[in-house]
């Protein structure tokens, strides 16, 4: 269980995390979603006691991180892929880490087996690929068999096989009753792994919801209908109280109606239809809409292209 109350982080006059409240509960994967620079990593570092909050507080199992009697037995974290000295072997990295919290040597071999690094455990980690480094980081997180796990952008830079492996791992950790907190800037990733969703933008929580609710609310479909008598059809549909928008090619986009209802309206007026289809909005779009105001750095794609280019 992770609890943040009015958690704040300021750098000079810039507020990176602005008095956020949230709770991450056991037995579920809580996705921490937000664009780059929204404050995800800063928040996670404050949970781990690495960065000091400018205000408010955050606790793990009811205690500030620094007050945990044996931190690795309670919290495991993958904060960045390369928080490892490249000159040390994977085994020795896990060994010193185990020693801090009195974790036995055999557990080091155990976690190496779990993440499948047996073949390279005695090699220096400087030569590891990103995926191998990520596995080593996960081995370190699992070392103390903790009940709370944090993963900051765990699938970044991984190949499809590695991504699937991490997704399954995250799901199974939550299924075992652990508290799992995973950050990502990809909605599609969250939709696959998270049970609960915490959306952050510009340092504030803009959504705190069940994943299924979020999907139900935001993947609402609309119907696309094209007719040679578009104007008349639009008039008829508006009379029924449905919202109409025009697509680029002149087709009508109807919210709140089913294709059957629209077909019936057209039929009763004797209007011809050339197209009638359901279009579902993607979650990615829903996320973009939600965070549109809070994206730190917009790519300017609407710049006029100079003539002759």
């Amino acid at each position: 269980m992770i609890t943040a109350e009015r958690l704040t982080k300021r750098y000079g006059d810039k507020t990176a995390v602005d008095a956020i409240d949230f709770t991450v509960r056991p037995g579920a994967v809580t996705g921490f979603l937000g664009p780059n620079g929204a404050g995800k990593s800063t928040t996670m570092r404050m949970v781990m006691g690495l960065d000091h909050p400018s205000g408010g507080r955050v606790t793990v199992n009811g205690r500030a991180y620094r007050d945990l009697p044996a931190p690795l037995h309670e919290v495991g974290a993958l904060l960045e892929a390369k928080a490892i000295h490249g000159g040390r072997t994977a085994y020795n990295h896990l060994l010193w880490l185990a020693k801090t919290n009195g974790i036995p040597r055999r557990r080091v071999d155990e976690v190496i087996g779990m993440v499948g690094l047996e073949a390279v455990a005695r090699k220096r980690s400087g030569g590891f690929s990103l995926g191998m480094g990520q596995r080593l980081g996960i081995a370190a997180a699992l070392l103390g068999d903790p009940g709370v796990l944090l993963f900051d952008e765990p699938v970044n830079g991984l190949d499809p096989e590695g991504i699937r492996w991490i997704r399954n791992l995250i799901r199974s950790l939550a299924a075992e009753g652990r508290t799992v907190f995973v950050s990502s800037h990809l909605m599609s990733e969250m939709a696959l792994t998270a049970d609960h969703l915490l959306v952050i933008g510009r340092g504030t929580i803009i959504a705190d919801t069940d994943m299924s609710d979020f999907i139900a609310r935001n993947s609402a479909a609309h119907v696309r209908v094209r007719s040679p008598q578009g104007g008349v059809l639009a008039e008829a549909l508006r009379e029924r109280g449905w919202a109409i928008r025009r697509d680029d090619d002149g087709a009508l986009l109807v919210d709140g109606a089913t294709p059957e209802q629209i077909g019936d309206v057209a039929g009763s007026r004797g209007l011809y239809l050339h197209e009638l289809s359901t279009v579902s909005a993607s979650l990615e779009e829903a996320f973009m809409r939600l965070t549109a105001d809070s994206v730190e750095y917009h790519a300017r794609t609407d710049q006029p292209v100079p003539a002759g280019v």
């Binding site: 570092r45 781990m48 006691g49 690495l50 960065d51 000091h52 199992n61 620094r66 945990l68 009697p69 044996a70 931190p71 690795l72 037995h73 309670e74 974290a77 904060l79 960045e80 390369k82 928080a83 490892i84 000295h85 490249g86 000159g87 040390r88 072997t89 020795n92 060994l95 010193w96 880490l97 020693k99 801090t100 919290n101 009195g102 974790i103 155990e110 087996g113 779990m114 993440v115 499948g116 073949a119 390279v120 090699k123 030569g127 690929s129 995926g131 596995r135 370190a140 699992l142 103390g144 068999d145 903790p146 009940g147 096989e161 492996w165 791992l169 199974s172 950790l173 075992e176 652990r178």
Partner: protein, 279 residues
Amino acid sequence: MTTSSTLTPPASPPVARHDGSGGARLTFGRILDAEWTKIRTVRSTVWTLTSLFVLSVGLTALICFAAAGELAGEAADEPIGAFATWGLMFGQIAALVLGILVATSEYSSGMIRTTLAAAPRRWSVLAAKTTVITTLLLVLGAITSTVAILAGNFFLDREGIGLTLSDPDVLRTMVGGGLYLAVLGVFGLGLGLLLRHTAGAVTVGIALIFVVGNLVGLIPGAAGEWLTKLMPGNAGTTMATVESFNPDLLGPWTGIGVFAGEAALLLLIAGWLFKRRDA
């Protein structure tokens, strides 16, 4: 080298889960054990300690071999004892660098976050690092200065100007080399933790000890004299030499006391910032 490791099924760690109330707790002894494991499992430790030994012993032997004849001549008024650990002047850089690396290698790799996640008590982490570097350099420094004296004295002896090994100053220097290098290592640790950057800390460290220590001598009058005595590089060195080239420096015990005080102050400032700053 195998790039891909076998994919195992999703990890299912043993179900028995600790919630911190179990037997395993974070203790200073465990943090110390971890820091010792860290320092002995990277190559840079082996390299710096090897160069400490080789430079100190090798250069001492070399200068004694080259200068013994002249020193034995009647015209020479150089303090012979100053040559017996001459190589330490260069070997000491390795001790400084090792101390710096104990702190900065964690920042250059980002490993400091792993360290502090495992052991969030920052003063304990710093105390463990200090203990490890002090012990290591105390032992290796004493061995190095003893071997350097024996090697240098071999050549001095051939010219009939050898030191008496049972002389109190010679015995003091054998241990004193270890003391000086240990304090220098701690000085490096403080500097590294303060600056969090290897190249920066090495540059500042070497400048303080080799350059500024000599430059302040140019300041006229008593101020310059005292600054020379008190500069970190100067204050400690008399402890590591049988006789000093510069008779104006502080005595060995006073000198090492001043140097240890300076290193401790630096370490405290660095520790205070370490506690306050974001990792």
